[in-house]
Amino acid sequence: MSTDNPVSQYAVRLADDALILGHRLSEWCSRGPFLEEDLALSNVALDYIGRARMFYGYAAELSGDDRSEDDFAFLRDCRDFGNLLIHELPRGDFAFTMARQYLVDVHSVAFMTDLQSSTDATLAAIAGKAVKESNYHLRRSRDWMLRLGGGTEESHRRLQHAVDELWGFTPEMFEMDELEKSLAGQGVAVDVSRLQPAWDTEVRATLAAANMSIPEEDWQVSGGRQGKHTEWLGHLLSDLQFMQRAYPGLEW
């Protein structure tokens, strides 16, 4: 299911990021800690799934065969998914979900801001919608970092645990491979390596304000962009793709 068009490949990666995180967030539906949070998590999930549809739709258009956005989402296997690993980690407890969201939101806002000036008009247009949503998400996830960090002993402990577990997955957000380097050279893709210093400053300031200690940088994992995933992605896909695998071509 791979495609030769580099922009299409890039769009698929961004779609995979959005779909996988959107799915993780959707798992909270009816399990939120209280009604308002349940609605918020589902709303954010919807934004991500919408974002995935726009990127997959564009990838399908560029691929030039008769594949649709659904083929990309439902008929590819783990090794074909190019999402960053941080998105596929199980949702964990509420502190874990919000800590991941915060770390990803800070990245997303900077990323989508840059992608808005892509020489590719469609990627730029999708980014124009996404950046507004990510800004809105960030307001809430940053707020939760402060509330959980400065809340009870338990909320503080859970948040610190989450940040420690997530920290080694964050450097991957700033890695560039050959595909992205080449596309960034043409002004199509974002040079994510340039986003790291500002991300670091912002995240460290929030962690300090939330009374969190900065985790040791003694491990890091990557490989998502190359299709090397954690075991969790397969479990997620078996849930996400079940209906299409069991009943090919099923429609609502």
């Binding site: 609605l39 709303n43 809430r140």
Partner: protein, 171 residues
């Protein structure tokens, strides 16, 4: 006196309608309402960008509000139905992402309709807008959640009349 600034995209949208060679098509589409806010039309919401007749085909251009808003699908179906009913057999609905939709495209008349319906209209903080309770008009309101029952709404509560209400997010 504050002079409200008209966003340039809004101005262009209004000009397209004013200068249109097919005003009857715009009027037909005025019947298509936002399925989740049935008091305002897709024109008033800012979703309807253009209507043209290309040969025999009516081409309608819409801009999505939120990326994952499920109402967009319904809106496209409702457009098809309204045009079919008005006797146009050839139709196409195009989704356009840029310029990105903003709640600033909801004009004063539509804002008032939202308020009558019990939803506080979007307020642009930069222009000094204040959120007020759609039931009693009090400005003593409190945000309960940044996210409400649909993507476009946040949840508020009035401190004076104690009623909860939806606020159409400024976005």
């Amino acid at each position: 006196m504050r002079i409200p600034l008209q966003p340039v995209e809004q101005l262009e949208r209004e000009q397209r309608r004013r200068n249109s060679e097919v005003p009857e098509l715009w009027t037909t589409l005025d019947r298509v309402m936002d399925p989740e806010l049935p008091v305002i039309s897709i024109w008033e919401l800012g979703v309807l960008q253009n209507v043209e007749l290309r040969g025999q085909t009516v081409v309608v251009t819409i801009t999505p509000t939120y990326s994952g808003c499920p109402a967009m699908h319904t809106i496209a179906e409702d457009i098809q139905a309204a045009l079919e009913q008005a006797g146009y057999p050839h139709r196409e609905v195009i989704t356009q992402l840029a310029p990105a939709w903003t709640s600033n495209w909801i004009g004063p008349a539509a804002q008032e309709k939202l308020r009558q319906y019990g939803i506080a209209p979007p307020q642009n903080a930069d222009s000094g807008g204040v959120i007020s309770c759609p039931h009693c008009g009090s400005e003593q309101v409190q945000a309960i959640s940044e996210f409400g029952s649909t993507a476009c709404k946040a949840l508020y509560k009035c401190r004076d009349c104690a009623e909860p209400f939806d606020y159409f997010k400024s976005f």
